[in-house]
């Protein structure tokens, strides 16, 4: 028995360096819950936010230090794609934590659990970015999602928050069931010996024709399960409700970090694992992508709540990013999606920072609340305009370059119809984004201006500066992405 324990321990330690960032995050988050929580009394809980930011910075350094490699029975793989998307998740989480402080203070809802749950969920995302086995994909998704269910229902004395958590949970659990069943079918179709993505790619190509149905059903079920997680149409029903009911920083979180991790999983599962059987999934996935672009953008037009508008816009953005998955070119597709996601996270965090700032004064939920913002807060309104126009992809703003690289790739790979749909729906999206800009600049303001919190000013300024700087360097962004993460 001791021999077994020693063998287990040495097997775990041999590859532990590959997941140093996740191990660090989980250890620290556990220590934060106990004994860390004893050090701060009820009124000092907000101090956990800067501590969490420091933890995130250390994790980012660790991510850059981890060498390439594969470990844990080839369940986890560290390479350029993993590292790049892990950095995106960290960026999204850092934005969320910085945005949370003031809002939670004003609600008197500061707890250590909030920050610890963000860290646990982040650990799940970091696992997901590098998951190279269908089983580890499933477990990482669960670790990430279970923490987010709780965070969505965090304001438990608010009916809307609990309701949003409940809806998200029920649909999330349902989609996990479909995902696992799909994985079990693929496991069987590949001969019942492996779920490793690289092996599956070879095994599925060799499957006898009798198990074609197994492969087809399995691949489709995995597609459905993962489409639920990124909220792609027609599996998006939970997302507008969950976005609206969740505390706004968590809405920003859901729109950024988990999406980045899930897109990384999408790229790896469909780009590596199911590459050989692409004839089975290209058509369904392109329907999903097209439907997400159309429905996301069209439904956003008639929204009155800002959070719902951003929810539908994020559905549409997922549709665009799926173009990169479809492209079938693992490296170029991953880079284009990565760049798009980076730009999207910066723009979206900035837009949510503005919403949260207005919410601090009891407004900002509705689009009407942006009325006359241009008079009351010229700087804030300008920043919001930059974010919205960039989200719409209007040149020369940086959002345009993200779209440009993706669409160019899609055309090169022959997805002309989808690209035309993407272009047309981008034009629709400009309509509702400009609707908000119109509210800000062409309507008379109501009420008085109020000073802003330091963290919000910082985030808004930083995000706005990044978008503008990115704009100036747009044409070179893809080359840089190539140099930084794919050496």
């Amino acid at each position: 028995m001791t021999g077994f324990a020693q063998g287990l321990l040495s097997a775990l330690l041999r590859d532990a360096h590959l997941m140093a960032p996740q191990l660090f995050l989980m250890t620290v988050a556990t220590l934060m819950l106990w004994p860390g929580d004893l050090f701060f009394n009820r009124n000092e809980k907000h101090k956990w936010a800067p501590i969490t930011l420091v933890i995130l910075a250390i994790t980012a350094v660790l991510v850059t230090r981890v060498p390439d490699g594969e470990g844990f029975s080839r369940m986890f793989r560290m390479d350029g794609l993993t590292r790049g998307f892990q950095m995106l998740c960290l960026l999204g989480a850092a934005g969320t934590v910085a945005l949370s402080v003031r809002l939670l203070d004003s609600l008197k809802q500061q707890t250590v659990e909030y920050y610890a749950l963000i860290l646990f969920s982040l650990a799940g995302m970091l696992f997901l970015c590098g998951a190279s086995d269908l089983i580890s994909v499933y477990f990482s998704i669960e670790l990430m999602a279970i923490c987010i269910y709780i965070l969505v229902a965090y304001l438990r004395d608010r009916a809307t928050s609990v309701e949003a958590g409940m809806k998200y949970f029920l649909l999330g659990a349902f989609s996990s069931g479909i995902l696992v069943y799909g994985i079990s079918l693929i496991y069987g179709a590949a001969g019942g010996v492996t779920t490793n993505l690289a092996d599956l790619n070879l095994a599925l190509a060799l499957t006898p024709t009798t198990s074609n149905l197994l492969v087809y059903t399995g691949v489709l079920m995995v597609l459905v399960g993962m489409a639920f997680k990124v909220a792609a149409v027609p599996f998006h029903m939970w997302s507008p409700d969950a976005y609206e009911g969740a505390p706004t920083p968590i809405t920003a979180f859901m729109a950024t970090a988990p999406k980045a991790a899930a897109m990384a999983a999408f790229l790896r599962v469909f780009g590596t694992g199911f590459h050989g059987v692409s004839s089975e999934w290209v058509l369904p996935l392109s329907y999903v992508a097209g439907a997400s672009m159309i429905l996301g953008n069209v439904a956003a037009v008639r929204q009155e709540s800002m959070k719902r508008l951003l929810a539908y816009s994020s559905i549409a953005h997922v549709g665009y990013m799926l173009l990169g998955v479809l492209s079938g070119d693992p490296k170029a597709g991953a880079q284009a999606v990565w760049l798009y996601m980076l730009i999207y996270i910066v723009m979206n965090t900035g837009a949510f920072a503005v919403v949260i700032y207005l919410q601090g004064k009891g407004e900002g939920e509705r689009i009407e609340d942006f009325k006359g913002l241009g008079r009351k807060h010229p700087v804030l309104a300008f920043a919001m305009m930059v974010f919205l126009l960039s989200l719409a992809g209007i040149p020369p703003l940086v959002g345009f370059f993200g779209k440009f690289y993706l669409f160019k790739l899609a055309i090169e790979q022959g997805f002309v119809t989808l690209t035309v749909i993407a272009l047309l729906t981008s034009a629709v999206s400009a309509y509702y984004y400009l609707g908000v800009v119109k509210e800000m600049y062409f309507k008379e303001p109501e009420g008085e201006a109020a000073p802003m919190g330091a963290a919000q000013v910082f985030i808004v300024t930083l995000a706005c500066a990044l978008v503008l700087v990115g704009t100036a360097f747009g044409p070179w962004l893809l080359d840089w992405a190539d140099k930084i993460f794919w050496v």
Partner: protein, 100 residues
């Protein structure tokens, strides 16, 4: 020995009952149980395929999936309790403050 096809048929039936249950039952607790059925159908598949091929990995996956199902139920029940305190109901049709 029971044939692989028989086990697959049982697991498919379990999965179908689970899916239909999630779609037609309106009680959050019953929906949770149906999700469990779906996960257990997958477990059955894993074990059947592992037995068939003689590799142990599928059996390990089934154990792991059971662990995650337990964690999921713990969070789910906590949410149901929170919802019941707030709204005095566990019927999903009554959860309608947010319009989807």
């Amino acid at each position: 020995m029971v044939s692989l096809n028989a086990v697959l048929l049982v697991s498919f039936l379990l999965f179908s009952i689970g899916i239909i249950g999630v779609l037609i039952r309106r009680n959050a607790l019953v929906i949770l149980m149906c999700v469990e059925l779906m996960l257990n159908a997958a477990n059955l598949n894993f074990i059947a395929f592992a037995r068939h091929s003689g590799s142990a990995s599928g059996q390990a996956f089934a154990l792991l999936v059971m662990g995650f199902a337990a964690a999921e139920v713990a969070v789910g029940l906590a949410l149901v309790v929170a919802l019941y305190r707030k709204r005095d109901t566990v019927q999903v049709d009554d959860i309608n403050l947010l319009k989807g």
